[in-house]
């Protein structure tokens, strides 16, 4: 795939590095000349020094043939406008943008960015997962927040302990995806028996998390 990255900071550089490793063709655009020179020396990619919001810069980066544009600068305004230009003028199939301020995620959706990535929110959720004492942890949400991957730790006194997965009355639109037991990971089947302290990873519709909790936690 041909990917254009706007923004040569840590995120842009690391993204370019990974994409090249996976044999994609990458062009990177940054406003700062010194940043461009450094990246040009380190990575074997096309590096353009310029403002990604200007059409001649996008042209020079080969936007006509780009499959994806990823706008990862530290400015939400710049990321939004670059994606809109890519979409409206050049019909780029997929635009991905870094959201710096979580409060702006909604605006990215409204203004037509295909995949807004709320880096602060993701980081906060990962940290929350590590420090959380709550019974259910929301790991990731997909499809603009309609689906969620959640984790529940099975307590000793849960009625689900000792039961087969097939006996557990899961909410209709939820599936168990994985079981983590100590250092082992299982893909659960109908006849898998749950043990106390299992970490259960389930895919569910957002809003159904409480129904999942009810199944695994002892009655309050």
């Amino acid at each position: 795939m041909y990917v254009i990255i706007i923004g040569g900071g840590n995120v842009g550089y690391y993204l370019a590095h990974r994409l090249v490793r996976d044999n994609h063709t990458v062009a990177l655009v940054d406003k700062d000349r010194a940043t461009c020179d450094r990246i040009g020396q380190e990575l074997d990619i096309l590096v353009i020094n310029g403002d990604g919001c200007e059409l001649h810069t996008l042209d020079a980066a080969g936007i006509e043939r780009a499959d994806v544009l990823a706008a990862v600068t530290g400015s939400d305004e710049d990321n939004l406008i670059v994606c809109q230009l890519a979409k409206e003028l050049f019909r780029v199939d997929r635009t991905v943008a870094r959201v710096n301020d979580s409060r702006n995620e909604h605006i990215f959706n409204e203004l037509g960015v295909d995949v807004p990535i709320d880096s602060t929110g993701i980081l906060a959720r990962v940290i929350e997962e590590e420090v959380s004492l709550s019974d259910i942890v929301n790991l990731v949400t997909f499809r603009k927040g309609k689906l969620a991957l959640v984790r529940v730790d099975l307590p000793d006194n849960s009625s689900a302990v000792g039961k087969q997965v097939s006996e557990i009355p899961l909410p209709k639109e939820s599936v168990l995806v994985a079981l983590i037991r100590g250092s082992e990971v299982f893909i659960p089947h109908g006849n898998t028996i749950l043990k106390s302290q299992d970490e259960i990873i389930a895919l569910t519709r957002l809003g159904d998390e409480n129904s999942i909790l009810k199944v695994f936690l002892p009655d309050l």
């Binding site: 919001c53 200007e54 059409l55 400015s75 939400d76 305004e77 710049d78 939004l80 406008i81 809109q84 230009l85 409206e88 003028l89 409060r103 702006n104 909604h106 605006i107 409204e110 203004l111």
Partner: protein
């Protein structure tokens, strides 16, 4: 008219003072408190410090009852985002963005964002004065 001005730039100040003295209800939003202070005591409108495209800030400025929004910060992209938020999230019709880059102004004009291209206006003024008696 109830008019929201986003950006207490020189253009913002000039617009705010003129519209205020003409008897309009004017609200000025700027991220920087010090910029707002430059409006002076004679200005009778409302001042709000905050991000002018954040929906909460716009609500505080009374966007729901506003007749118009003018985005006149010194940053083209901020102005484009602000006007689109006013239009798409709040359904406002009369929203205008100040844009330096004529190409960007033209591009977003095609996307139904009303823009005033400063560079084009100045260039036209020069050409007019050059050839007019």
């Amino acid at each position: 008219m109830y008019i929201i001005i986003v950006g207490c730039s020189r253009v913002g100040i000039d617009l705010a003072q003129a519209l205020d003295s003409e008897g309009h209800n004017v609200v000025v939003i700027d991220r920087n408190q010090e910029s707002l202070a430059r409006l002076g005591r004679s200005f009778s409108g409302l001042l709000i410090s905050g991000n002018g495209y954040e929906p909460e800030v716009l609500r505080e400025a009374g966007i729901e009852k506003a007749d118009a929004l003018l985005a006149v910060t010194d940053n083209d992209n901020t102005n484009l985002v602000t006007t689109q938020v006013a239009r798409k999230l709040f359904g406002k019709e009369k929203v205008l963005a100040r844009i330096y880059d004529p190409v960007r102004a033209e591009t977003f004009q095609k996307m139904a964002v009303d823009t005033v291209s400063e560079t084009t206006l100045v260039s036209e003024a020069f050409r007019k004065l050059l050839f007019d008696k």
